[in-house]
């Protein structure tokens, strides 16, 4: 690789291209050649910087000088001043960028500004394989406090008063769960950590386990003390090899330090943890199925009641909580329930971690106080939709959740508000969709997932999801009718009411929510036989616009199935019966004469 002393980036995104960035690119290269420095300076065309309104944008590294609204006539001066003489051309530098043009520490970055890290407090800060670093950040201090200064009842009381609710999806009050289990009389009780995380696109729990495994171990020991259990299990999916390895290291170190095992810290309390690897079936994340799986049986849900608090693992009273739920516990014990209540909202206290994905600029992991609005997450923290596209919907709760439309973007995120919108908090997957996503196809995608993952134990879910998927496929192929839409809705409501476990009960949510907010898209598919977003292949047509077409014949050569016929200089046409909608012709046509609709 050649070494350039400087790099000039010119944005080649749609926004900037429409404001003549390509002319600038060419002129820039010419100017640089004029000065004979083309071997020192590299000119790079880049994708959109997301600041289209300031375009055309030119950035010069290593200084990181950010020039906005550059005009072709500015270039001679820019090259002369900056690239030849090494002086930043102040007059063109975007004013906001003058002082603070470079972020030294990630923490000052807008992405983090609205975030508040409780569960992820140590992630990205400490070395997860070094227990001393966890201890340095007050690790195991909460366990110390609980064992030396608090009764089990007091621990339950603090958790209850904090208002912490389960982060695994359902939002059940954690303190109440602990209290019910603590009340049971039994010779043996268990604490389980649910680290199955089967929701596609979610990786919150994985990140906690990989970045801060001791926080979960510490919380489980605290839980054990509170309910009177001496044994804990972490059920983690085998597809998370790094998380598994970090947990193994952490458990070993905790045992060496006497923070797990017999007579912890010399207080007489004994507690130990074992790992159990899950095979990755989605239904194994459901608590009763998970316990079946730990017991060595096939992971299938069993009817509740009895609830785990009375009869859980090996019929003993059991507390089962999610990874993120646990990660909050040590902080609550150390800082108090009032502190935790001061974050978030009245009914949903604390924070929630989300895995932002889909059509969003900043994909990644965010932790926000409850009550933050969807708009703040998507547009401020997430940086909005790339390529200047329009926001269409956001999917929360994974396969059990629903799609929320633009008119509800200002809803504060809480357990109950999301349910009211037909979605749910879920474990924290958040997928953003733009105008290019077909909502019928999205519903089909999730139903395909749940149909696949249904354990088959009860009929409504086993047969019902299959029927629903069949109807959805029919619609996406353009063979659906209006009656099909009604049938789909009916089936969805029936399954919701009659399925045995949470998987079946929530499986129809993606369909119901898209029907609620995007019914017109369903109707477009069945009545007009059109997919407005241009996703459903069967409903798409590629056609040649005759008056734009230059009759060059390139498309006919590109077509893999010989669907384009015609004669050079005369006429070309696409045979719709033969066309497999691969798009090759459209890509190859030099004159943009082929359109898709």
């Amino acid at each position: 690789m050649a070494f350039y002393r400087s790099q000039v980036l010119v944005c080649g995104g749609t926004g900037c291209t429409s404001s003549e960035s390509m002319v600038i690119l060419e002129n820039l290269k010419n100017e640089i050649k004029k000065h004979g420095i083309e071997n020192e300076i590299e000119v790079v065309r880049t994708g959109c910087f997301g600041l289209c309104e300031l375009g055309p944008i030119v950035i010069v590294y290593p200084e990181g000088a950010f020039y906005s609204k550059v005009k072709p006539e500015d270039l001679p001066e820019l090259v002369e001043e900056h690239l030849v003489k090494g002086r930043i051309l102040k007059r063109l530098v975007y004013h906001e960028a003058m002082e603070d043009d470079r972020i030294k520490s990630l923490n000052n970055f807008g992405f983090y500004k609205k975030q508040y890290r409780v569960a992820l407090r140590n992630c990205g800060v400490i070395d997860p394989e070094n227990i001393d670093e966890y201890i340095a950040f007050d690790g195991y201090k909460a366990l110390e406090k609980v064992l030396t200064e608090m009764t089990p009842e007091e621990v339950v009381k603090v958790v209850k008063e904090s208002g912490l609710r389960g982060r695994g999806g359902g939002g059940f009050p954690t303190g109440l769960k602990w209290e019910l289990t603590a009340k049971e009389k039994a010779d043996q009780k268990y604490i389980i950590c649910n680290a199955d995380e089967g929701d596609p696109g979610a990786f919150m729990d994985r990140s906690v386990l990989e970045g801060d495994p001791h926080s979960v171990l510490e919380a489980m020991a605290i839980g054990g003390y509170a309910i009177g259990a001496s044994k804990g299990f972490i059920y983690v999916r085998a597809e998370y090899p790094i998380a598994v390895q970090r947990l193994e290291v952490a458990i070993k170190q905790a045992r060496e330090y006497g923070l797990l095992g017999d007579d912890i810290l010399g207080t007489g309390f004994s507690f130990d943890i074992e790992l159990r690897l899950g095979s990755g079936a989605f239904v194994c994340g459901e608590e009763t199925a998970l316990m079946q799986s730990i017991e060595g049986r096939r992971g299938m849900p069993v009817p509740k009641p009895p609830f785990p608090a009375q009869s859980g693992l090996w019929k003993k009273p059991t507390v089962i909580n999610n990874v993120e739920t646990y990660a909050n516990i040590p902080a609550i014990i150390l800082n108090g329930s009032q502190w935790f209540r001061s974050i978030g909202t009245e009914k949903s206290s604390g924070t929630k971690v989300f895995a932002l994905g889909g059509k969003i600029t900043n994909t990644g992991l965010v932790e926000i106080p409850m009550g933050t609005t969807l708009r703040e997450i998507i547009f401020e923290i997430g940086g909005g939709i790339p390529k200047g596209k329009k926001f269409k919907a956001v999917q929360t709760g994974g396969p059990s959740g629903g799609c929320i439309a633009a008119q509800h973007l200002d809803t504060p995120i809480e357990y109950d508000t999301l349910i009211a919108l037909g979605s749910m908090m879920g474990s924290g997957g958040m997928i953003v969709m733009d105008e290019d996503n077909c909502m019928v196809d999205v519903a089909r995608f999730f139903l395909d997932f749940t149909r696949d993952e249904s354990c088959g134990k009860c009929t409504p879910c086993r047969i019902g999801t299959k029927r629903m998927l069949e109807i959805l496929e029919k619609i996406t192929q353009g063979k659906g009718t209006l009656e099909d839409i009604d049938k789909l809705e009916e089936l969805a409501k029936e399954i919701k009411a009659s399925a045995l476990c949470g998987l079946g009960q929530t499986a129809p949510n993606p369909v119901l929510s898209t029907l609620k907010y995007f019914r017109d898209e369903y109707i477009a598919h069945v009545v007009d036989k059109k997919c407005p977003a241009g996703v459903c292949k069967a409903l798409m047509r590629y056609t040649i616009v005759d008056n734009v077409c230059k009759k060059c014949g390139i498309c006919a050569k590109a077509c893999p199935v010989g669907a384009i016929t015609g004669k050079v200089k005369e006429h070309f046409e696409i045979n719709q019966d033969k066309c497999v909608k691969c798009g090759a012709c459209m890509e190859k046509c030099p004159f943009k004469a082929i359109i898709k609709k």
Binding site: Y61, D100, N122, I126, E210, D263
Partner: protein, 133 residues
């Protein structure tokens, strides 16, 4: 087995090593090593840094791994925290770039500006995708 008193000692002793504040005495180089970081190539980066540190015979430097920093798309991410200075975040690292950082930033004290994250209006600018053909 550790006693509560011993834990408190570990806490005190380790805090200087881990804390991100300016009153520390060693330089800490931290590499994000969660699943996404590793997938983006964080391990070769970590190895290169360790190799460079030992090649240059640096003694008051700690190389550590850490979990998810939250910005998966900018991985591999390396943070350098020098005593008395603000933390510097480098993004999209490669083993070569990381070696330069050890030489220029850690040893000579010159921040390698080209690899530091640049932000305007909350948008990361050096997160560009090259489109030259």
């Amino acid at each position: 087995m550790k006693t509560i008193k011993e834990l408190e000692e570990i806490r005190k002793k380790t805090l200087d090593v881990v804390n991100q504040r300016k009153d520390r005495t060693t330089t800490r180089i931290v590499v994000g090593m969660a699943t996404c970081g590793i997938a983006a190539g964080a391990r070769p980066v970590l190895l290169a840094i360790m190799d460079e540190v030992s090649k240059l015979g640096l003694s008051d430097v700690i190389v550590a791994q850490t979990g998810c920093i939250g910005l998966c798309r900018l991985e591999p991410i390396v943070e350098v925290i020098k005593p008395g200075e603000e933390k510097v975040t480098y993004i999209k690292m490669t083993p070569e770039k990381a070696r330069r950082i050890v030489k220029e930033h850690v040893v000579e004290g010159k921040v390698v500006d080209e690899y530091v994250m640049h932000v305007v209006d909350g948008k990361v600018l050096n997160d560009y995708s090259v489109q030259n053909d």
